[in-house]
Point group: C2
Chain length 326, copies 2
């Protein structure tokens, strides 16, 4: 099974049954979105709940050495920073304020005390940058290094992937394709010139757009963050909403930093924009503009994902980073 | 550094500074207890909070193949079950009701789809057993198999490790030493006879005492679960409370299942009781009895941990499972 099929299988196994649905209260969104959505247990869980309880969004992300990063391409502090921002981006994608986090580290012997302090410092820097605090965690020995980060956010209403409507615009905050270009540059071992430096920074030090995401509240009909590539993540929004998404190629190529770094690396900027992940841009569907977002396409009746170019439309292959794909 | 020193270093790096303390509200207990304690963001985070907001307790635990389990000693379903119960026990130790969980799996190629379904089924069984539901998670590829489980619980007031007072009794729910004896039996490869079977079951299928733990609310002055061994975990309670804990050896040897299985394996029952982990017993300090708990000692002025025997007192070495100790 590929990753999507595995997640569908897991959702089936974990679906309420045998009476849990009745017993476990306060679950608004479970598996399948950027984060779970819970009703805050305000003043007595389940009982005397206020008319409009606060929502909590809750995510876990894990970064594994050799899969999500190679140690020689980033400092330990970068590794800590990146792992935290990856989780924070899921909270941003729900339109929630980042609140608290826990982190579970698996440490091989090769991670010494000084390295551990750098990793944790990177996590702390990232938490501070998004206004959150790390309040606990777990340490374990293991042969491979990994960081799992779980983050709680708070909002009045969470913006899920489902809800985009034909006629909505498709809006983006942040950049796409740059981090993938930066990773390719680091992997190539070449000298990093000024045209490529912004791309390398985008990969080493991504910033989850938590504060920008708050502007979606009450406006966006659906949202997703770009972690696995624009095509795949917008494709998942379209699928969850039961609509077609159309991306405007010229808008994707309007980022000078992407165009310059792609040219310096001899790569196709459009390919990077569609399939490069880990920039943590935010994508929202909305009938009206959103502060901090620019329009990159629109929502239509139908299904799937199309790319609008001056030459005409072409349907886009919804591929991206798949942990278990062949 | 050993594990305790590493956690102290991490707590120092993550301590509020640079203004976060002011910005991040609702944190009652951070690093250093069985779980973090948060004030539920009831009806408007921070603003119009009710006079007695609900508390949430929040933990993350990670089980790593080759460290916490060897695949040949347990079924995949056991592995899923055990990983969930380990996290649930932290919630039980705070006197909270288990609510929702997320799980992050790192899967090597050797874990096929059928194995994954068994693992998730074991997690789901365990969640149902403690009245919780798994509402999301993360899948990643990796060379080593691991499961990180993060669990939220709800309570009116969390029972922390700090707060035990001289004169309190030391009370225990559940058993100690049995799981360690069962693991030794499995590792020995010997045939499992009826005297050893309860010990093997204790290791393969531990049950977090979440419902029993609810009886501590409003009664216990401090509590901890036994994951790393009674001596180490009671030692941590004594240290956090600034008191001395005294264990009664005869009470620790009053469990016939432990005595029989230890004898069958040729092991010292007292040694297993003091230093064996992963049974997930609950230990509470309380001036009065607690339903479901039996007395195993008391709290006195002073510091450290002593063992009371008919022959006299002996101070107990506070050792136990240390991930990074030499």
């Amino acid at each position: 099974m590929d990753e999507i099929a595995r997640i569908a299988m897991i959702a089936r196994v974990l679906a309420p049954g045998r009476g849990e649905a009745e017993r476990v209260e306060g679950i608004e969104v479970a598996i399948g979105d950027d984060a779970a959505v819970l009703l805050a247990p305000g003043g007595g869980h389940g009982a005397a709940r206020p008319a409009r309880p606060a929502r909590m969004v809750w995510t876990i992300d894990e970064q594994v050495e050799g899969v999500h990063f190679r140690r020689e391409l980033a400092t330990w502090r970068d590794v800590g920073w990146r792992s935290f921002q990856a989780a924070a981006s899921d909270v941003a994608a729900m339109g929630a304020k980042a609140w608290c986090a826990l982190s579970a580290l698996v440490l091989p012997d090769s991670v010494d005390d000084a390295a551990l302090e750098e990793i944790v410092s990177g996590q702390a820097d990232a938490a501070t940058a998004v206004g959150a605090r790390i309040v606990g965690g777990n340490l374990s020995r293991g042969s491979g290094f990994s960081i799992a980060t779980t983050l709680l956010g708070v909002c009045d209403r969470a913006v899920t992937r489902a809800g985009a409507k034909p006629g909505d615009g498709l809006w983006m905050a942040g950049q796409v394709g740059l981090a993938a270009c930066g990773l390719r540059a680091l992997e190539s071992g070449r000298a990093i010139g000024p045209d490529i430096m912004p791309a390398v920074d985008a990969w080493r030090r991504p910033v989850a757009l938590v504060n920008v995401g708050l502007a979606m509240a009450g406006v966006a009909s659906a949202a997703v963050d770009v972690s696995d590539g624009l095509a795949r993540d917008v494709g998942s929004l379209a699928e969850a909403s039961g609509v077609k998404a159309a991306l405007d190629a010229s808008e994707l190529l309007s980022d000078p930093a992407l165009v310059k770094s792609a040219a310096a690396m001899g790569l196709e900027a459009l390919d990077l924009a569609l399939y490069g992940g880990e920039d943590y841009a935010l994508i929202a569907a909305s009938p009206v503009p959103i502060a901090g977002f620019r329009r990159i396409g629109g929502i239509e009746a139908g299904s799937g994902l199309v790319l609008r170019t001056r030459a005409g439309d072409s349907s886009v292959l919804v591929r991206g980073f798949d942990h278990f794909g062949k």
